[in-house]
Symmetry: C2
Subunit: 214 residues, 2 copies
C-alpha cells in the first residue's frame, strides 16, 4: 500500500460513493439478511479510521435480542415525544410524518460506544473530545463501506445516551455515541430526504468558507 | 445516482483508499503547491457528509497569513509543552522526538469549526454533540478525498480551542473542532507512524465487539 498513487477513476469512484450515501430509515429497509462477510468488511472499515494517538477507542455492541430492541424503541419513542416539541405548527406536523429510525425494520442494529483509554493518549490532552471524534470517523468509514456494499445505514440520534448505556449494561468508562441500523434497501433516495422535503436547504460551499479568520 | 449499485471493484477501491489514508505531519510534506481544483474537490467531499437534521454545521477557515500561522504554531508549542508532561521516562523521550504537526510545512491550513444552527435541528435534541459529530464526518470525507487525490492531510489536535477561536476571530456560536494541514507528500507511510513505532498496538476487531450488551 506504500505510496500507492490513486488515479482519476479511483477519485470518481470515491466521489460516487460519498454522494450516493444516505441516511436510511425503517421505511426503506428490505427483509434481505445481511451476509456476515459484509458485516466483517464494515467493521474492518471502522478499524482503518484515524484515531487520536492511535487509541482506536471504538466499541460495537450488536443488538439482536428482541427484548433489548424493544427497550431501545421505547427509549426512542419517549425521547422523540419531547424532541417533537422543539417544532411549531406546520413543522411539527411534518415532523410527525417522518420515519426517523429503523430499529425494528433493519436486520442489523449496532450501538457504538467510546471507551476512554486507561493510559494518557497522545494528542488527547487539550481536546478530550478528540477521542469521541475518532469514533465518529470510524462510523463514517462504516457508512461508506456499507454504501459501497449496497447496504443502507441509518444513524439514530433521538435516544437518551444514559438510558442506552443502562440498557446495554455499559461500564462506567464507556460512552454511548450512536445507534446504527443496517440492512439492504428497497431504494437509496437520490437526495437526502430532508433536502427533498425542503425541510432544510443545501448550503453553498462559498457560504461556509473564510480566509484568515471570520 | 438513484439506486446506483456498486460492484466488487468499487468496494476494493474504497477499501484501498481507507487503508492508505494516513495522518501526515510536517516531516512528510513536499513543497509542491496544491491545485485549487483539488481544494474544491476536497471541500465538495465535505459537503456530502451526513449531518444531523441536514444542518450542515461545518465552517472552514483557510489560514494563509504567515503572522496568523505563527500564532497557531505558538499555541501548538505552548499546549505541547504541557501535553508532553502526561508521559513519563522513555515514553516522554520518544514523544519529544515525534513531529506532531505540519502548520508551517503544509501549503494548505484549514481550521474547521462547528457553527450551531439558530433554529432547532431535527435529531439534535437529546444528543447536542451530534452537531459536532456531523463536522467530524465532513472532516473524514475530506481526508479520504485528499488521499484519493494523493494529497496528505494531518489533523492537529494539540491546540487550545478557546485560543484558536480568538486567533481566528470566531463568533460566539462557532466552536473550534480541528486544524487540518494539507499538502502533497514525499511518501505515505505503509502503517500509522505510532503503530510502526510500537507506541500503541492495533486492536483486534473481536476485542471491541459485543453482543446484546457488555
Amino acid at each position: 500500500m506504500k505510496n500507492r498513487q490513486f488515479d482519476v477513476s479511483d477519485q470518481q469512484t470515491l466521489e460516487s460513493i460519498l454522494k450516493a450515501r444516505r441516511d436510511v430509515r425503517g421505511n426503506r429497509f428490505s427483509d434481505a439478511p445481511v451476509a456476515n462477510e459484509d458485516i466483517e468488511k464494515i467493521l474492518e472499515a471502522a478499524s482503518w479510521a484515524p484515531s487520536v494517538g492511535f487509541s482506536q477507542p471504538w466499541e460495537f455492541v450488536f443488538v439482536r435480542d428482541n427484548k433489548i430492541k424493544q427497550q431501545v424503541i421505547e427509549s426512542f419513542e419517549e425521547t422523540n415525544q419531547s424532541a417533537k416539541q422543539q417544532f411549531d405548527g406546520e413543522k411539527q406536523a411534518q415532523y410527525a410524518q417522518l420515519k426517523l429510525e429503523g430499529i425494528k425494520e433493519a436486520p442489523v442494529n449496532i450501538a457504538v460506544f467510546y471507551r476512554a483509554s486507561k493510559l494518557p493518549v497522545l494528542g488527547q490532552s487539550s481536546m478530550l473530545e478528540t477521542g469521541k471524534y475518532s469514533v465518529v470517523c470510524a462510523i463514517q468509514n462504516m457508512w461508506l463501506m456499507a454504501r459501497a456494499l449496497n447496504i443502507g445505514l441509518g444513524w439514530v440520534s433521538i435516544l437518551e445516551p444514559r438510558k442506552m448505556e443502562k440498557i446495554l449494561n455499559a461500564p462506567e468508562d464507556a460512552e454511548f455515541i450512536a445507534y446504527l441500523c443496517l440492512g439492504h434497501v428497497k431504494e437509496f433516495l437520490e437526495k437526502p430526504e430532508l433536502e427533498k422535503l425542503k425541510w432544510a436547504q443545501r448550503k453553498e460551499i462559498e457560504s461556509v468558507t473564510f480566509i484568515d479568520g471570520y
